[in-house]
């Protein structure tokens, strides 16, 4: 059919052109900027790879923010995935009110992270915050001053992030569990009565692809983390909670060092590509 060959492009092209226009051009532009000494509104000088050299070998703030981010990513991914898995196993049974629980666990996902950060500010407040109120009540005389020391501040941020994203892992892993075939379990229960064995030798292997997907998606999201530290600690105390995205923001849009910030952004992009490659390979098969 002649019509067929043309019309199909009308369906996909508008979307493709739109996204191309608004992402490829900005990306190309910032790739160019990455090789320049460029301050917003001033002249630009081409400096080859100097920005990248400076970041990797000559900028302790780069490594600091990278370290902070990697710490957040590791904590967040490990905690949200394992908590989510525990909850999913718990809820994967006939339970009254399961729909209600699922609804309840959906709301944190759609809570604006920036708002959550400010809420965290009041929850972890040293004198009158919710957490220390409880700690006082439990008889702790000197609960942590969450925002003025390094590790408590980091832990507070991780906790807020865990609160927001555990539901995501829970919902996805529950869906994964519920799609596992019943027959295997019926057969397995004939051989053993240990639910640990069932989990270890049946559930876990079958669930691995879903666990993998969840972990990668969490990792990618966590690497972009900006809103929560921005509102909760402003990256402080010092730069103890300054995530990598936050550092790019400060470099490019507070100090207007557009060239250097673009180079930093490209390093982040590179890390993201490395992380997501394996995920992409998996999805390539699914998208057949």
């Amino acid at each position: 059919m002649p019509e067929r060959s043309r019309v199909k492009y009308l369906f996909v092209l508008p979307g493709i052109i739109w996204v191309l226009l608004f992402t490829i051009f900005p990306l190309l532009y910032s790739l160019r900027l990455a090789f320049f000494q460029a301050r917003l509104g001033k002249s630009e000088t081409f400096i080859w790879l100097e920005n990248f050299r400076r970041a990797l070998f000559d900028d302790y703030r780069f490594w600091n923010s990278m370290g902070v981010t990697v710490f957040f990513v590791a904590c967040s991914v490990i905690c949200t995935v394992s908590l989510g898995l525990a909850l999913a196993l718990l809820f994967n049974r006939p339970l009254r009110g399961q729909r209600l629980f699922r609804a309840l666990f959906t709301t944190p996902l759609f809570t604006a992270p920036i708002a959550l950060g400010y809420l965290g500010l009041t929850i972890f407040h040293e004198q009158v915050g919710a957490v220390n109120t409880v700690l006082f009540a439990l008889g702790v005389e000197h609960p942590p001053a969450w925002f003025s020391s390094i590790w408590p501040a980091r832990i507070a941020i991780v906790l807020v992030d865990i609160w927001q994203w555990t539901p995501f892992c829970f919902l996805v892993l529950l869906a994964g569990l519920q799609s596992l075939p019943d027959e295997i379990y019926e057969a397995a229960w004939l051989d053993t009565s240990s639910s640990w064995d069932i989990f270890r030798y049946i559930t876990l292997p079958l669930l691995t692809p879903v666990l993998f997907t969840v972990s990668i998606l969490r990792m990618v999201e966590a690497f972009k983390m900006l809103d929560i530290p921005f509102s909760m600690t402003s990256g402080g105390p010092g730069a103890a909670t300054q995530t990598y995205s936050f550092y790019i923001y400060l470099t490019g849009l507070r100090n207007f060092n557009a060239g250097y910030a673009s180079a930093l952004a490209y390093i982040l992009l590179f890390v993201m590509v490395l992380i997501s490659l394996s995920f992409f390979n998996r999805l390539r098969q699914i998208y057949e």
Partner: protein, 284 residues
């Protein structure tokens, strides 16, 4: 599947754990609501968790929000609403068409898989990487501090999500009805509008809700691209602490105002959330 061997102790333990999980999920909301009814004086002096038992609730914070601070809040809410709806309309219109195209037709020069992967890769793009060029482009186009700038940005970042979710949905719809319509002489657009679109309507609505929530909650670009007139609610709440330290009472009221619309709306999209947020890798 779970093999039920429930003893009374087991049941009690189960419900105890569920209770903890539920309180953990609800607690921040509870805290925000409680704080919003505290008197400003009380907040900073006495730590408290329970209204009536520990303090007398007051409506003062809420009435302040709806009277003297209302002009600022309502403008921000209006901006958020216009930006989110505008972005969602664009993302869903183009996303539905592209999703349908990818699900129904075979492309040869660039394979379907490649185009789908390309849309997916957009979701992995760190927004920070495009923030500076976007700022410069909007400045050049004189679009800084306009709702249009935020609509364009949010449409761009939510569209891949719409494409991937809806491609998945159309793939699962039976193809036969459209094929027989083609045989009867209907054009591809007629078949799309009369047959596929109504069948996919619930899924499209759910995808729209999620796009709306993403746009509403977006902060980075809103912060960079607006400074006064077009500020959405996420940026306005970010302004609360700068004046005189953290003012708990209107932090609480404002946060609730900002949080509730997308969070409540998202409940209507329940069925598609897992599939949507994993880009079809896990069926919910």
């Amino acid at each position: 599947m779970y093999q039920g061997r429930s003893t009374l102790v087991g049941k009690i333990a189960l419900w105890f754990v569920i209770l903890i999980a539920v309180s953990w999920a609800i607690f921040p909301f509870y805290w925000a609501i409680v704080t919003s009814f505290k008197q400003p004086g009380v907040i900073m002096t006495t730590p408290s968790l329970f209204p009536w038992l520990q303090f007398t609730p007051t409506l003062a914070n809420w009435s302040g929000e709806f009277t003297q601070r209302w002009p600022e809040i309502s403008r921000a809410l209006g901006n958020s609403l216009i930006v989110s709806i505008g972005a969602t309309l664009i993302a869903i219109t183009l996303g539905t068409m592209a999703g349908y195209g990818l699900a129904r037709f075979r492309f040869r020069r660039w394979k379907n898989k490649d185009m789908t992967m390309w849309f997916l890769s957009q979701r992995f793009l760190p927004p920070m990487a495009t923030a500076i060029p976007f700022f410069l482009v909007m400045k050049f186009l004189n679009l800084l501090d306009t709702q249009l700038a935020l609509i364009l940005v949010n449409a761009t970042f939510t569209m891949p999500f719409a494409v991937l979710t809806l491609r998945d949905v159309f793939k699962e719809l039976p193809k036969e009805m459209e094929e027989s319509a083609w045989v009867d002489g209907a054009s591809h657009f007629q078949a799309f509008f009369r047959i596929a679109l109504p069948l996919a309507a619930p899924a499209i609505a759910a995808a729209a809700v999620i796009c709306f929530a993403f746009s509403w909650n977006e902060f980075l670009f809103a912060l960079i691209l607006t400074y006064r007139n077009a500020q959405p609610i996420t940026v306005v709440i970010a302004g609360v602490e700068h004046t005189q330290g953290v003012q708990f009472w209107f932090v609480a009221t404002r946060l609730l105002i900002a949080i509730l619309p997308p969070a409540l709306l998202a409940l209507t999209a329940q069925r598609y959330i897992v599939r949507g947020l994993t880009f079809g890798a896990v069926k919910g």
